[in-house]
Structure formats: structure tokens, C-alpha cells
């Protein structure tokens, strides 16, 4: 696996080679810094940790300061671990090395984007789980168009089953969008355009994996 950390900028559209208009998300990615290298001997598995996004020194805890100092870099906002990072670029991965987007992806790759979806607050079952609602306003209905309906049987089992889908807090979850195509790379600006939408608000962190 390989990947990079980025920030969502917004959406636009471009024309593909076949003349189709493709909606795509613009992400500002990297350069990420290798902040830790884990291996089987010391940690039980192989992984690298990448850091992205500048963080103020005074907002960083002492422990974190030490961690970043070991890699010879400034404190970073977001650190993400990539297991079994595939190294197919020159020099290999060393502590403190900068990884740029063009070293990880090429145009046409399929990538997964992981982010935190926008929080929607307390929502009913129609928005939260896609229930159909009651389906009409007539036949005796007057105030329950978007209600969930029955949530179970009667004296047996005398309880509501665990996991019953109901209203509640919606959004703000970790969401992975799979198989987004890398439409365009702009290495001089550290930008990457992926097809379709990516979870989260603008300026939120997004992890791209291949």
C-alpha cells in the first residue's frame, strides 16, 4: 500500500479525453514528512508514519515535540500510519524524508479517499437510514410522514432488538470512498484532482491510499 495525506480544497469539473465532463475534487496533498518508521523487529509490523500540515510549536505537547524532533522536522497537525508502504521511488524511505504526490500516484490510478464526513446533527430515520417515511398524507395520517413505523413485535420478544435503526447523530464519521480515479496531477502546486466527491468539509484532512 502507498498513500499520502491531503487537504480538501473544493470541487470543479474537467473534460476527459472522450469529451465527457468529469466532476472532480481538488486536493492539496503533501509534501508529507516521514515521521516514524516501524518494522517487524521493534513494533511487530511494517509501517511508516507520515505527517502533514504545519502546527504551532506552542500548541504542541512536549512528547509530540520530541517525536517530530527525532525525525528532524517541525510539528505537524495530522499524522497517519500507512502499513506496508510500498517504496518504489529512489533512495527508499528514511526518517525526515519528504514524500511528494507525484512520487506516489500517477494519472489514471485508482485511489481510495478517507475523511470525516460533515456532521449533520440529530437526524431522523429518513435522512439517516434512507427510510421511505409513511408514504402519504391521507388514510388517517396527519403528523407522521417521516416516522420510522414499527420497531418490532409485541409480547414476544418484549424488547427492541439491538442495532435497530433509529434517529440519532448523523455524519461526522470516518468514511472511505473507494476507486476514485486520479484525473490530473499538478506537482508544481502539490495538487491532485480525483474523480467524484470526497467526504468532509473544505479544508479538512483527507487520506489518499492506493
Amino acid at each position: 500500500m502507498s498513500g499520502i495525506i491531503g487537504k480538501k480544497i473544493g470541487m470543479t469539473s474537467v473534460f476527459g479525453p472522450d469529451g465527457r465532463n468529469i466532476a472532480c475534487t481538488v486536493l492539496e496533498t503533501g509534501p508529507c514528512v516521514v515521521t516514524q518508521i516501524k518494522n517487524v523487529d521493534t513494533d511487530g509490523y511494517n509501517a511508516i508514519q507520515l505527517g502533514f500540515g504545519e502546527k504551532k510549536e506552542k500548541r504542541t505537547s512536549g512528547a509530540a515535540k520530541g517525536h517530530f524532533a527525532k525525525a528532524g522536522t517541525t510539528p505537524k497537525h495530522k499524522t497517519v500510519e500507512f502499513r506496508d508502504f510500498r517504496v518504489d521511488f529512489e533512495g527508499g524511505v528514511t526518517l525526515g524524508r519528504e514524500i511528494k504526490v507525484e512520487e506516489v500516484f500517477v494519472e489514471g490510478d485508482f485511489v481510495d479517499a478517507i475523511g470525516t464526513s460533515k456532521g449533520k446533527g440529530f437526524q431522523g430515520v429518513v435522512k439517516r437510514h434512507g427510510f421511505g417515511g409513511v408514504g402519504g398524507q391521507t388514510h388517517g395520517q396527519h403528523n407522521r410522514q417521516r416516522h420510522p413505523g414499527s420497531i418490532g413485535a409485541c409480547s414476544f420478544p418484549s424488547r427492541v432488538f439491538k442495532g435497530m435503526r433509529m434517529a440519532g447523530r448523523t455524519g461526522g464519521d470516518r468514511v472511505k470512498m473507494v476507486n476514485l480515479r486520479v484525473i490530473k496531477l499538478m506537482p508544481e502546486h502539490n495538487l491532485v484532482l480525483v474523480s467524484g466527491s470526497v467526504p468532509g468539509a473544505k479544508n479538512s484532512y483527507v487520506v489518499l491510499e492506493k
Binding site: 480544497i9 473544493g10 474537467v14 473534460f15 469529451g19 481538488v26 492539496e28 499538478m186 484532482l193
Partner: protein, 117 residues
């Protein structure tokens, strides 16, 4: 809009100067590339522009209405579509609206648009 998005759109937006300036109410002739199998030919589509949408973005489109064999036809073109070969402005129309949907309910004399002098 964020500056970075503008940067991304810059490349396509530079094409904008190659199009003539046209507005709703104008009569235009669009040369559209059509590929049949591996042959490519140009088809012309002539009509009145009734709206332009999403202006100043990559997704800008315009709608062209014409009456074909007594039937109203509306076609939506993405401005930056690679299949648009050329846009010709035949007539400038004088209208007081940005969206000329009122033309849909009209035909004949009342569907005319005054020419801008």
C-alpha cells in the same frame, strides 16, 4: 471561490477568449463534432440562446432553442466541451431577461426577438 480552484480552472478558462461574446436572446450557429464509428463530421445547430448557466466556471453551459419541423428543440452545450468546433453569432437580440423561458409557450409572431441595433 478559492484561489486554488481558479488555478486549476485556469487552463480551460483561457479558451474563453476564443469564443465570441454572446448573451441570451442572440441567434447562434454551433458547429458540433459528431463521431460515427471512427469517422468524424461537423453538424450545425442554429437557434436562440435562452440561458447561460454557471458562468465563469469550468461547468458553464448554454441552452439553444430552435423550432425543428414545428417541434421546439432545446439543446444544452457545455461551453468548454471539446466537441464544440465553433460558435458563430448571427444576430444580437434585445431582451430584458437573462432566462428566456417565456419563449417556450409562444410560437410564430410572438416568439420573435427584437434585434439589437
Amino acid at each position: 471561490m478559492s484561489n486554488i480552484i481558479k488555478l486549476v480552472e485556469q487552463e480551460l478558462q483561457q479558451k474563453r477568449s476564443s469564443f465570441p461574446d454572446f448573451n441570451p436572446g442572440d441567434t447562434v450557429n454551433i458547429h458540433v463534432k459528431i463521431s460515427e464509428g471512427n469517422k468524424e463530421r461537423i453538424q450545425q445547430y442554429q437557434g436562440t440562446v435562452i440561458q447561460r448557466r454557471n458562468t465563469n466556471s469550468n461547468g458553464e453551459t448554454f441552452t439553444v432553442r430552435k423550432i425543428s419541423n414545428g417541434v421546439g428543440v432545446e439543446r444544452i452545450f457545455p461551453l468548454f466541451s471539446p466537441s464544440i468546433e465553433k460558435i458563430e453569432v448571427l444576430k444580437k437580440g434585445s431582451v430584458r431577461r437573462a432566462r428566456l423561458f417565456y419563449l417556450r409557450g409562444r410560437q410564430g409572431k410572438s416568439a420573435r426577438i427584437k434585434e439589437k441595433i
